[in-house]
Amino acid sequence: MADRGPTIPREEAAVWAQDLTRTFGSFIAVDHITFAVAQGEVFGFLGANGAGKTTAIKMLTGLLAPSGGTAHTAGYDVAEQPDEVKRRIGYMSQRFALYDDLTVKENVRFYGGVYGLTDRQIAERMAAMLARLGFERMARERVGRLPLGWKQKLDFSVALLHEPEVVFLDEPTGGVDPVTRRQFWELIYAAAQGGTTVFVTTHYMDEAEYCDRVSIMVAGTIAALGTPAELKAQFAAASIDEVFLRLARPVEEAASS
């Protein structure tokens, strides 16, 4: 890993950060992180609670101004052009963005409108999405009545509706059964194969193994970054879980005091 700058040139990267920093008063939440994510990559962004992941993601998605350093997402500077960034990314949070009282179709139409798609684009993409998910029969069902796993798949697909260059997923698979969790990851692979960059956080360490590369944040810094195989070799560990425990364990008390 180069100390100077990210290993991927800025023009080619989907996400690119150099010395990205955010402070809250005297607290340094994100401390000079430097890394880049290639286009079409599935990038796992790991870290213990309180390590600075959420703050970093808020900066990378143009929601929070950095205190220092630079970051570009989908080719735009997050500090200079946050609105351009927001137009070119998708975001799926742990809380559902979909409206429980609207049907599947109504939700899709609403979000399509928010992202400025034409009626025709919405109709075409909705048909393709429902077919891909096998949701045709549920199109007129209220979202609140869908099982959790279905909602998550729908939420992910809605986040991709405007064909963003990068999609940010914040613990997308919490609480679902093991079969549905894997189906969700197959949607992630499909999106990445279509060229969408996937930036994902998770507490499931087996899911970290599904990523092309993962970074592990510890106390505001990126303590490790590489392919799962590289990290396991680097730390002589059998699994990413073991790598994570070794890196993150010593700072638990520091992060909380």
């Binding site: 870290g47 213990a48 609670n49 309180g50 742990q94 099982p147 959790l148 796993g149 613990e171 919490g174 609480g175 679902v176 059964d177 093991p178 079969v179 549905t180 894997r182 990851w185 197959e186 692979y189 499909a190 194969q193 507490h203 499931y204 360490m205 087996d206 193994e209 599904y210 799962p228 195989a229 699994s239 990413i240 879980d241 994570f244 425990l245 993150a248 364990r249 638990e252 992060a255 909380s256 005091s257």
Partner: protein
């Protein structure tokens, strides 16, 4: 204690919310001193089961007892005997660590001093932060405080609803270490989790899905061993989605699912060694490189996934 055969007894428990069935005839028994895990995803019925046991809601059918007491008839006495940690952080964020603890102690007519020995193994870890508001604690420390509060009245049975959900891997590991310590002290604990890998930390587990047990409760080792079909793990260089597609299209492959860096392939009608060899040759024949295919011991998660599509008929229980 000698006249109580089980600490928690559940027989044919049914609970409906409007037309949705949350529990559809669940039966299980937790032995005294056992660390018993209820493993299942959101919506499986874990919280409903636990709420009935801690007497917060009533069952529609079936019966349950805790520490020998009926959850309907003896609900007041049960509340004195169980420690309950609900899924959501339920402490007072504006009170300090110490104030929360003293509050819960006083509700049960006792004091932190009188019960110090029982909470010490956990509380001592957060005691240096006594004056901090609970809302300002890290996730791991909130858990320790919540567990201390659930223990402060010396419960005979501890019931923990998804204590590790949304918690990072480090705090999860620490939390299970604490449960192990409480178990050594003789406490009976019933704990739920959506994380299949946590099954290994329990004495016995029940697999719950859409309100039903997928099979009879057993040790995690016995549950894992109950996987009957040949199982092989496979990896190869290249796109994982393409690898899954290739494997699923091969003859005699009942299922192919990602497991960490591997794909687990379930076969039928041949032994695992033969299946592994066949997968190896088939992938290499299709141009995949660095192929590794080898028999693998099934995990609880393999069993859960197999049972989701093909439930064990012996898990059927009479709807009382």
């Amino acid at each position: 204690m000698t006249d109580a055969p089980a600490s928690v007894q559940v027989n044919g428990l049914v609970k409906r919310y409007d037309e949705a069935v949350a529990l559809d005839g669940v039966s299980l028994a937790v032995e005294p001193g056992e660390l018993f895990g209820v493993i299942g995803p959101d919506g499986a019925g874990k919280s409903t089961l636990f709420r009935i046991l801690v007497t917060v809601i009533l069952p529609d059918a079936g019966a349950a007892s805790v520490d020998g007491l009926d959850v309907v008839d003896d609900y007041l006495e049960i509340r004195r005997r169980v420690g309950y940690m609900p899924g959501r952080f339920s402490l007072y964020p504006d009170l300090t660590v110490r104030e929360n603890l003293e509050f819960f102690a006083s509700v049960f007519g006792t004091s932190v001093e009188a019960e110090y020995d029982v909470i010490a193994p956990i509380y001592s870890q957060i005691e240096p932060f006594d004056d901090r508001r609970a809302g300002a604690l890290s996730g791991g420390m909130k858990q320790k405080l919540a567990l201390s509060c659930a223990l402060v009245h010396r419960p005979r049975v501890l019931i923990l609803d998804e204590p590790t959900t949304g918690v990072d891997a480090v705090s999860r590991a620490e939390f299970w270490d604490m449960l192990g310590e409480l178990k050594r002290g003789g406490l009976t604990t019933l704990v739920s989790t959506p994380y299949m890998d946590e099954a290994a930390r329990c004495d016995r587990i029940a697999l719950l899905q859409t309100g039903r047990l997928l099979r009879a409760p057993d040790t995690p080792e016995a549950v894992a061993r109950s996987f009957r079909a040949p199982l092989v793990r496979v990896r190869a260089t290249g796109e994982r989605a393409a690898l899954l597609g290739t494997l699923r299209a091969l003859d005699g492959v009942a299922r192919a699912e990602v497991f960490g860096e591997w794909v687990h392939v379930t076969g039928a009608g041949e032994d695992a060694g033969a299946l592994a060899l066949r997968m190896q040759r088939a992938l290499e024949g299709q141009g995949w490189s660095e192929v590794v295919a080898e028999p693998v011991a099934p995990s609880v998660e393999d069993v859960f996934m197999a049972l989701m599509s093909d439930p064990d008929p012996t898990a059927e229980v009479n709807h009382g």
